[in-house]
Every structure is written in structure tokens, then in C-alpha cells.
């Protein structure tokens, strides 16, 4: 199958376009269509996975790393004395993006299933959902920075409406907060993108190609050329660019202290959108760090490793403590996501194979478990319109099967070994121990705490909500 990635990218958009011309009333049809579209996407991504050549040869440049490459000229504007603007339609996957693509299609499929109870404005909902699904996939497979950026921005739009229209009580606050936060992040990315375009060439012409950027084909003396050591406002231009990317993607990740959009967005979003937010949106931020910040600026990244690791540790502990103190189920899971993304930052900061593998593994496992937890929280919320932890007690006697799954997911989350977390964590951890040179011992100590933090807050939950005597609260009428 040629053009597999394009099919993957555009199929949902096609279905969305089709929906646009259908009568509004047929709600059941929209659901099935969306399910079909994401189902096809899932199937395609599995084909992608099967056809992916896993044998890794000697790699000297990023050129040979990507597979399923599709490349076509797209925008070619002559800007007169300003030069030219040339962006390409350039897709491809490698070992970093492939797992995330497969994860995305899977979570998007699950997301549709959990949207089955959406009753309001069904057509609009699913059209937005499908646009979202295209843009997320687009982010992961775009190899042209410009193309990536477009998908990166496009993602905000459907989420904004999905939270703003189908969300909870404070939905407008949450959606605007989310939108402004991430838009701010995008601006930082945009600045770096422009800088890179001006600095990187493919042969003679300027290019947005991420491959050229990662291979470091810089124009001599350009602003981000590592050899020219350009300085902006007294700071090294490359360092500044790295920090900008760190901020831009750090907001999406999210890392402390730019994380506060996440709890609000999660709490107010309808369950399926929480699922997508936790499962995929955060991964886009991490992917951006992987691909852009660390792929293009490895030299700066090495210098800044302590800084990144510090924010990782801060996120872990700070997020964990916040999660412990929450009363709202969804808020708790959201803060725990912040905590877990800290591990990804640390894994990245190590800049070693194991550390990066661990971070990636952590991303995938987090991408599976967070959605599960949000669905779990959503199940209670849908039935009771209430998600305060202290309003529930002893659900296990009423919902034994449900409790079984909840317990399972929560043990996943506290990374009890034998569960998927364990692997992800220990790989990241291992690296950290070995890279004691730049992650100093005191951080190691503080990390001691984190694992228990996550245990504390998560064990807090099943114990209080599920065990004990069944105490129906006022809201449990139905």
C-alpha cells in the first residue's frame, strides 16, 4: 500500500466532510460513521506497524531513518526581495512516531466508543472529533515543520469547541484557558520555526524539512548555525531557541509551572475528550520535545540537561502532591498526569538510549492508562453527575466488576510491577542512576518520594471510593 500515511491522515477528514452534507437528525449514523472512520484508521495503523521495517542498520544521518516517506511540493511562494517561502507535504514515520501513531488511532477509536452517550449536537461533535483525530495523526507523521505547525495549531480548534460546547459547568473558562495557554506555547514554537527556516538549507534553498534540521544542514553564518555562535539579546541564539521550544512544548506536556490548564480542561471536558487530552495531546508535547527540541538542538540540550531534569523532578513531586490533595476524581488523574510527564522529562534529559526509550515507553503506557482512568471516572460521573471522591463509598458492593477494573487500572497507575508501568519506569530510572553526573544525588533522593506520592494518592482513591460500607450519597439517586 503506497500512501498509507496519507490515507491515515485524510480518511477521517473525508468522513467529516461527508457528515457535513447529511441531515442532522440521524444521530446513530454519525456515531457509526465516526466509529468506522477511526476503526479504519486503527486498521491502517496496524498495517503500518506490521509493515514497518524494524531492523536497524547503521545510521549516519536521519535521512535513512524514516519509512513510508511521502514527499511533494506544496507551497512555493516567491516573496521577491524577501526570498521565497517553500513548504512541502512531507510525511514519514520512525521508531519514535510509530508507537505514538498506533497509540493515537487506538485511543481515538476508544474515544468514539466512549462518546456513545453524547446526545447533543451529535453531528457537530463528531465532525470536530474527526478533525481532531486527523490533526493529531498529522502532528506525529509530519516531517515538515510548517506542516507540523499547521496540524499543531489545527488541533486547538476542535478541542476548544469540544470543551466549550460539550463541557461541564465552567466550560467556557476552561476552554479559553486551554486555548490561550497553548496558543502562547505555539507562538514560541513559531518563532523557532521561522528561525530554523532562515538557517537551514536543503541544497541551495531554505527548507522546513525536519530531516535537514536534525541533520544540521545549516546555512553558514545563519542565526541558528551552531558554528556562527550568534547572540540575541546577550543569549546564545540556539540556547534561546531550545528554551523557546521547551516552553512551547512544555505547556503542551504539561510541565510545572505551566500546567494549570490541564486540570481545568480535564475536569470540564466531556469524558471522551478527557481521554483524548490525556492520551494524546500530552503526547504531542512530548513528541515535539523528542523531535524538535532534542532532535534539532542536541548540543544545547546537553548543556541544559540539569534544567530539564529539574523541571522533571519538580513536576513529579509537585504534581503528585497536588493529586493527593484533590477531591475531584478527574482533577486527581489530571494532576497525576502532570506528575507522570515529569518522568518523561527526566528520561529525555538523560539523553541516552535507555533514558529516551524509557521516556517513550512511559508515554505509550501513560497513553493507555490515563484514558482508562478517565473513562473510569466518567462512568461514575455519567451516572451520578458527581465526581467528588468524598461523596462515594463502598461502590465495590454495588459494582464489583467495575471495581475490579478500577483496581486494575489504579495498580497500573501506581506502577505496581508486573504491570506495564514497571517496565517503563525502571528503564527511565536506570538511566537516571547512571547519569548521576548531571542529575545530582539530592535529586535522586527527592525522587525517592515520588513513587510513594503516586501510590499515596492513588491508593487513597480505591480505598475511599470502593471499599467501606456502601453509603449512597444524595446524588446517587439514579
Amino acid at each position: 500500500m503506497d500512501h498509507l500515511l496519507s490515507y491515515l491522515l485524510f480518511f477521517p477528514l473525508l468522513i467529516a466532510a461527508l457528515m457535513l452534507f447529511m441531515p442532522k437528525a440521524k444521530e446513530a449514523v454519525f456515531r457509526r460513521m465516526a466509529l468506522g472512520a477511526t476503526g479504519v484508521q486503527l486498521a491502517l495503523s496496524i498495517i503500518l506497524l506490521l509493515q514497518f521495517d524494524q531492523s536497524v542498520g547503521e545510521v549516519t544521518s536521519w535521512q535513512g531513518v524514516f519509512q513510508f516517506i511521502e514527499r511533494a511540493s506544496w507551497i512555493d511562494l516567491d516573496l521577491g526581495s524577501l526570498g521565497s517561502l517553500k513548504a512541502e507535504y512531507f510525511l514519514g514515520v520512525d521508531g519514535i512516531s510509530l508507537p505514538l501513531v498506533v497509540l493515537s488511532t487506538f485511543i481515538l477509536f476508544i474515544g468514539v466508543l466512549s462518546s456513545w452517550n453524547i446526545k447533543e449536537k451529535v453531528r457537530g461533535y463528531f465532525i470536530l472529533y474527526l478533525i481532531l483525530s486527523s490533526s493529531i495523526i498529522g502532528c506525529f507523521i509530519a516531517l515538515d515543520f510548517f506542516l507540523f505547525y499547521i496540524f499543531f495549531e489545527l488541533m486547538l480548534l476542535p478541542i476548544f469547541f469540544l470543551i466549550g460546547i460539550w463541557g461541564g459547568k465552567r466550560r467556557s473558562y476552561a476552554s479559553i484557558k486551554f486555548f490561550l495557554y497553548t496558543l502562547l506555547g505555539s507562538l514560541f514554537v513559531l518563532i523557532v520555526m521561522i528561525g530554523l527556516y532562515l538557517s537551514v538549507v536543503d541544497g541551495e534553498t531554505h527548507t522546513f524539512s525536519l530531516i535537514s534540521m536534525m541533520d544540521g544542514e545549516y546555512l553558514k553564518g545563519a542565526i541558528l548555525d551552531p558554528d556562527s555562535k550568534q547572540v540575541v539579546f546577550g543569549y546564545s541564539a540556539r540556547a534561546l531557541a531550545f528554551v523557546f521550544l521547551l516552553i512551547g512544548f512544555g505547556i503542551k506536556l504539561p510541565a510545572v509551572p505551566v500546567h494549570t490548564w490541564l486540570p481545568d480542561a480535564h475536569v470540564e471536558a466531556p469524558t471522551p475528550i478527557s481521554v483524548v487530552l490525556a492520551g494524546l495531546l500530552l503526547k504531542v508535547g512530548a513528541y515535539g520535545l523528542f523531535r524538535m527540541a532534542y532532535g534539532i538542538f542536541p548540543d544545547v540540550a546537553a548543556d541544559m540537561a540539569p534544567l530539564v531534569a529539574f523541571f522533571g523532578v519538580l513536576s513529579i513531586i509537585y504534581g503528585g502532591m497536588n493529586a493527593l490533595a484533590q477531591n475531584d476524581l478527574k482533577r486527581m488523574v489530571a494532576y497525576s498526569s502532570v506528575s507522570h510527564m515529569g518522568f518523561v522529562l527526566i528520561g529525555l534529559a538523560s539523553m541516552t538510549t535507555e533514558g529516551n526509550n524509557g521516556a517513550l515507553f512511559h508515554l505509550v503506557s501513560h497513553g493507555l492508562i490515563s484514558p482508562a482512568l478517565f473513562i473510569v471516572a466518567g462512568v461514575i460521573y455519567d451516572r451520578t453527575q458527581n465526581k467528588e471522591i468524598e461523596h462515594f463509598s463502598g461502590l465495590a458492593s454495588k459494582m464489583p466488576v467495575y471495581t475490579f477494573f478500577v483496581a486494575l487500572f489504579f495498580f497500573y497507575r501506581v506502577r505496581t510491577s508486573g504491570t506495564i508501568w514497571f517496565c517503563g519506569r525502571s528503564v527511565g530510572f536506570n538511566r537516571r542512576i547512571q547519569s548521576l553526573t548531571f542529575i545530582r544525588l539530592d535529586w535522586c533522593d527527592s525522587r525517592l518520594g515520588d513513587c510513594d506520592f503516586s501510590s499515596v494518592f492513588l491508593m487513597d482513591h480505591p480505598a475511599d471510593v470502593f471499599w467501606n460500607v456502601f453509603r449512597p450519597s444524595e446524588s446517587m439517586g439514579t
Binding site: K177, V256, H259, Y318, S417, S426, N430
Partner: protein, 667 residues
């Protein structure tokens, strides 16, 4: 091939049994679970017999990380022990849990628990050991919280889990550290001494599972679980895991770590014994005694006598399981006979000798073994540890004698509290006057069989023929020499041990024999009041300390959340509000200034226009009118020549002509 079948049978049968019993009907579930466990036990025995060389299997899990399993005689022996105790516990539970509506769940959890422990025993690398290690923690959480509807039980289960997790973090870091410095975590391939830090971390991990100070509190809290589960936890699984791990890694531990383990172990032994002497709850006495005995094992490892510790682990498994199952039998009986009293409280017992004859016999034997009287198994192993510590102290000199001294003192206390427990429970008159008399009860064979088997296992001949020597079958089988040293030290220790044990028993007997003041005090349910007993009966407030720490941490978290809401979110919101406020201000300026200026300009223009209009009317119109008036006047003037004098008319005419000429000239 046979090896593989045996290993898999041993390992997976408990899990399969658990899963099957989950789906089976409530009545059949016991038989199913028990049969599967029996199969596992038989396979384990087969493995032990079949085993000549260690069975190893290795595979690369992640790049650079090799994991594997390794079954040598040590693990095979423990496999047999665990499956054996677990089978008995299953059998016992069949009767104990008979009335419980959730038997399926119970046996499923029990199966998971056994499976985790078995997996831990066959793991060769520390990573998979850690995986099973944590699974043991999970299973214990589930089992302790089995009656989750009762108030306080979920909290207790959580406390257990959390305490374990805390230590597990240390263990994981230790393991990773070992991996980082040695490039392998395969126990069969590691050699040389480890660095101090990872050794200490791993030891802390083991302290967590084996309830050493400061992690001892969870074992007490875990008493809320079903009593057969306590038997399993205390005898062969869970708490044994930490000791097992340290026995495995003992060769790699540096000297300082050994010292630390020895000190922690002996202090914990004392702590457990001191706390046990004032407990009123029979299960708590047993729990504290477990902590104390585990302290003995740890101290043994610390003084380099891992073999003796292993032997103590082995003998302890029998008598402690026997004691807990016996306690289970008592609790079961009291629960049926006198529903309204706390069935675990020794203050309501007394005189149960006649009511529960078989339980009494087995309980007595196991108690004596625990107390460490000669001719019983506990004596052999405990004495081996003390001898080893004495020999070790001989080498190290003065300070090192602290450890055998602590252990000696603990032996005395052990004999004391065990005797007190037996006297209070079985002897004298029942303190539930009139309630138990009319209740007829016969111990179920499912109770008697396990109890008797375990009681026989607590006699000396089951472990070695010689009643006081140091050549148990087990150690010969494993090829380990224990308590190897000067005969004087050995003799001294032997005499002291016997004297102290007998001394402890006699002291307790004189204090608590029926009819004495102390035993009467119990009749009225009064605890002797004294600050020291208060301290002891509360276990030195260890659990309270955990709770305080937990509360403190929770409080801190709440504060952090407030910071999050106030500082970070506050900043963001303030920023947003500021921007909006700024925008409003700008809009205001727009409204007030620019608009006003424009307005003024407009008004000005209008005024100007008005002025212009007035001017227009006054000046232009005036001029026009003036010229009109002038011409009219001139006309009138000239059209009426006769009215005035001619010369005047001419003068006017002249001046008019001059004016016209001037105008013509100048314009």
C-alpha cells in the same frame, strides 16, 4: 522437560486454582483451590527430589538487561515450604470462611498471593524478583482488605501497602544501582562486594517486607485480615520474602551493611518482644512475636550466619502457622459462641482448654517451640542464631556483644509473653461466665488436621535427631554448616538459652497462673496502668507515628494545592484579568479621550459653521443689503431733485463718481 513441567506446575497451579475458583460455585470453590494447591505442592516436592544441579534459564528482557530464573536447593526447599503452608491454609480456610458469601474472591486472592511468592522464590535476577515482590504487596493489600466493608479495614490495608511501597522504592533504587555498577542483576552471576549505598538500600527494602524497624507497624495493622491469611503472611510468604532476599544477597554485602542489618535485627527483636508482653489481642501478640522472630533472622544474616537464619525461617514457618491457625480456631469458636464480644481479645478467653482440646494441644506445642524450650524446633534454630552471633561477637570484641545480649534478653521476653498468652487463653476459668457453657461445639477436621501437622512440624525430631546439636537435616541437605565455632561459646550459649527460656516461662507462670493477681486483673478487663505498659501496649506508637507522618504529608499536599491555585493559577488568572482590565482601560480611553476629541471637533465645526453662518448673515448679507440700501437711497435721492438744493445733489453726484473712480482705480 520434566523440570519445566514441574516448575510450571508449581508456579502456575495456585494462580490457575485461584482463577478457576473465581468462576466456580461457592460450594465447590474450596475443593478446587485446595486441589490445585496440593498439585503445586506435589510438584514442588517432585522438583526438590529431582533437583541435582541448579536449574537456570535466562533471557534478554531489554537490551542489556538479562533476566532469568534459577532454582537451586534453597529455593526448592522454600517452594515446598510455601506450597505446603499454603495448602494447609487453604484447607483451614475452607472451614473458617465457610459462612462467607465471597469465598470465590477469597480463594482467588489467596491463589494470587501464593503465586507471587513462588515467583519471587524462583527469580534469579533482581528485576523479576522485584516484580513478584510488588505483586506480593498487591496480593497482601487485597487479602488484608478482604472484609472491606468493615470500618477501618481499607485504611489498614492501605497502610500496609504504603509502608511496603515506601521500602520498595529504596529496594528499586538499590537494584538499579547494583545494575548500574555491575551490569548484571543475576544473583547467580554476581560476585564481589557491592558498594555500601546500594546494599543499604536493598536492606531497607527487605526491612520493609520483613517488618523490621522502622517499618514494623504494618504487620500489626495487617491483623485486620482473615486469620488464615495472617498465618500465610507470617509463616512462609511476604515477611519471609525480605529475609529470603537478604539471605540471597548476603555474600555481596559489605561489612557496614552487615552491621546495620545486625543492629536493626536485634533491636527489632527486642522491640517486638517488648510490645508483645502487654498485648490483649491474641493476634497482636502473635504479630509482635513475628516481628521479634524476624528480627532474630535479620540479626543472624547481619552476623554472617545466613544459614542459621534460613533454618529459623524454616522452623518458624511451622510453629507460627500453627499458632495463627490455632488463633483462627479460637476466634472462630468465640465468634460462633459469643457473637457480641471481641473474639480476638484474650480478656474474654480463659479456660478454653476443655472447649477446644485439639487446638489447645497443637497451640501448646507451637507455643513452646516459639518460647524456645529444648526439644522443640524453635529452640534449635534460635539457638543457632544466638551461637553465631556470639561467635561473631567474639571476633569483633566488646561492642559487638550488644547483639547477642539483645537476643538473649529477647529470648527471655519471648518465653514470658508466650507463656502469658497460653495461660490467659487456655487455663483457669472462662471469663465469659455462663455464655460458653451451653454452646456445644466440635472442632472441624479441617481445623484439626492442619493444626496437628504443624504441631508435629514443631517438634525437634522433625528437623534433626539430636535435641540440642546443630546438624539439622535441612542444613545438611543444603550443604551449609551452621553455628561453627569454639565449643566453650557453644556450651555457654546453650546453657544460657535454656536457663533464660525456662526463666521466662516460670516468671510468666507465677504472674499469670490462674488465681494470681494478674490473671484476675484480666477478668475485669483492666490493663495494668503504667506509662511503660502504655508504651508497650501501643507498640511504642509506631503506627500513630505513621499516621502522623501521613497526615502531615497530606496537609502539606493541601498547602501545595493552595499554592497551585493561588500562586500559579492565580498568576495566570491575574495576568488574564490584567490584560482584560488593560483592554478595558484602553477602551475607556478610546471612549473618553478620542471620542471626546472627535466630538469636540464635531461640535467645534458646528459652532464654527454657526459663526460662519452669522457672519454670512451679518457681513455678506449686510453688504448686499447695504449696497441695495445705498442704491435705493441714491435712487430716492436722485429721483427727487426738487426736494433739496441742487448743489447738494451735485455734490452727492460728484462724490459718487469719485468713489466709483477710486474703486475702478484701486481694484
Amino acid at each position: 522437560m520434566i523440570e519445566a513441567i514441574l516448575i510450571f506446575t508449581t508456579l502456575l497451579m495456585p494462580l490457575t486454582g485461584g482463577l478457576v475458583s473465581l468462576t466456580a460455585s461457592n460450594r465447590a470453590t474450596l475443593r478446587i483451590a485446595f486441589v490445585f494447591l496440593l498439585l503445586s505442592f506435589i510438584a514442588a516436592v517432585g522438583l526438590l527430589i529431582y533437583l541435582t544441579d541448579p536449574i537456570t534459564y535466562q533471557t534478554e528482557w531489554l537490551p542489556g538487561v538479562v533476566i532469568g530464573l534459577n532454582i537451586d536447593r534453597l529455593s526448592a526447599v522454600l517452594l515446598v515450604l510455601v506450597t505446603f503452608i499454603s495448602s494447609l491454609v487453604h484447607l483451614f480456610s475452607g472451614s473458617y470462611m465457610e459462612k462467607d458469601p465471597h469465598k470465590n474472591r477469597y480463594f482467588a486472592k489467596l491463589g494470587l498471593f501464593t503465586f507471587s511468592m513462588l515467583g519471587l522464590l524462583i527469580a534469579d535476577d533482581l528485576f523479576s524478583l522485584f516484580i513478584f515482590w510488588e505483586l506480593v504487596g498487591v496480593a497482601s493489600y487485597l487479602l488484608i482488605g478482604f472484609w472491606f466493608k468493615k470500618e477501618g479495614i481499607p485504611t489498614a490495608a492501605r497502610l500496609t501497602f504504603m509502608t511496603n511501597r515506601l521500602a520498595d522504592v529504596a529496594l528499586l533504587i538499590g537494584i538499579l544501582w547494583v545494575h548500574a555498577t555491575n551490569d548484571t542483576v543475576l544473583l547467580s552471576e554476581l560476585n564481589g562486594k557491592w558498594l555500601l549505598a546500594p546494599s543499604v538500600l536493598i536492606a531497607i527494602g527487605a526491612f520493609g517486607k520483613s517488618a523490621q524497624l522502622p517499618f514494623s507497624g504494618w504487620l500489626i495493622k495487617a491483623m485486620v485480615g482473615p486469620t488464615p491469611v495472617s498465618a500465610l503472611i507470617h509463616a512462609a510468604t511476604m515477611v519471609a520474602a525480605g529475609v529470603y532476599l537478604l539471605i540471597r544477597v548476603a555474600p555481596f554485602l559489605p561489612l557496614e551493611a552487615e552491621w546495620m542489618i545486625a543492629i536493626t535485627g536485634s533491636v527489632t527483636a527486642l522491640y517486638g518482644a517488648l510490645s508483645a508482653i502487654t498485648q490483649n489481642d491474641i493476634k497482636k501478640v502473635l504479630a509482635y512475636s513475628t516481628i521479634s522472630q524476624l528480627g532474630f533472622m535479620m540479626a543472624g544474616i547481619g552476623v554472617g550466619a545466613a544459614g542459621a537464619s534460613f533454618f529459623h525461617l524454616w522452623t518458624h514457618a511451622f510453629f507460627k502457622a500453627g499458632l495463627f491457625l490455632g488463633a483462627g480456631s479460637i476466634i472462630h469458636y468465640l465468634h460462633l459462641a459469643a457473637n457480641e464480644v471481641d473474639a480476638q481479645d484474650m480478656r474474654v478467653m480463659g479456660g478454653l482448654k476443655q472447649k477446644l482440646p485439639w487446638t489447645f494441644r497443637s497451640f501448646l506445642i507451637c507455643s513452646v517451640a516459639l518460647a524456645g524450650l529444648p526439644l522443640f524446633s524453635g529452640f534449635l534454630s534460635k539457638e543457632a542464631i544466638i551461637v553465631s552471633s556470639m561467635i561473631w561477637a567474639d571476633e569483633w570484641g566488646s561492642t559487638a556483644y550488644l547483639i547477642p545480649d539483645l537476643l538473649f534478653f529477647t529470648s527471655l521476653l519471648t518465653a514470658f509473653y508466650v507463656t502469658r498468652m497460653v495461660l490467659l487463653v487456655f487455663f483457669g476459668q472462662s471469663r465469659l461466665v455462663g455464655i460458653l457453657d451451653h454452646f456445644s461445639y466440635r472442632e472441624s477436621p479441617r481445623f484439626i488436621i492442619p493444626l496437628l501437622i504443624l504441631a508435629i512440624g514443631s517438634l525437634w525430631f522433625f528437623h534433626q535427631l539430636h535435641p540440642i546439636g546443630h546438624h539439622p537435616y535441612l542444613m545438611d541437605f543444603l550443604g551449609i554448616k551452621i553455628a561453627d565455632g569454639s565449643s566453650f561459646t557453644k556450651f555457654l550459649t546453650l546453657v544460657l538459652s535454656i536457663v533464660l527460656a525456662i526463666g521466662g516461662v516460670s516468671l510468666a507462670y507465677f504472674l499469670f497462673k490462674p488465681g494470681t493477681v494478674f490473671s484476675n486483673v484480666y477478668r475485669h478487663s483492666v490493663i495494668p496502668k503504667h506509662p511503660l505498659t502504655h508504651l508497650s501496649s501501643n507498640g511504642f506508637f509506631l503506627v500513630q507515628a505513621y499516621e502522623a507522618i501521613g497526615k502531615g504529608f497530606f496537609y502539606l499536599s493541601k498547602q501545595v494545592t493552595r499554592i497551585d491555585l493561588l500562586a500559579i493559577d492565580g498568576t495566570i488568572n491575574t495576568l488574564a484579568t490584567t490584560v482584560i482590565l488593560g483592554a478595558k482601560k484602553i477602551a475607556d480611553i478610546d471612549l473618553k479621550l478620542i471620542d471626546r476629541i472627535l466630538h469636540s471637533i464635531g461640535v467645534g465645526t458646528v459652532i464654527l459653521a454657526k459663526v460662519v453662518a452669522i457672519l454670512d448673515r451679518l457681513v455678506v448679507d449686510g453688504l448686499v443689503n447695504l449696497s441695495g440700501w445705498l442704491s435705493r437711497s441714491a435712487g430716492t435721492l436722485f429721483s427727487n431733485p426738487h426736494a433739496r438744493g441742487m448743489h447738494v445733489q451735485l455734490l452727492w453726484l460728484m462724490s459718487l463718481i469719485i468713489l466709483i473712480l477710486l474703486i475702478i482705480l484701486f481694484f
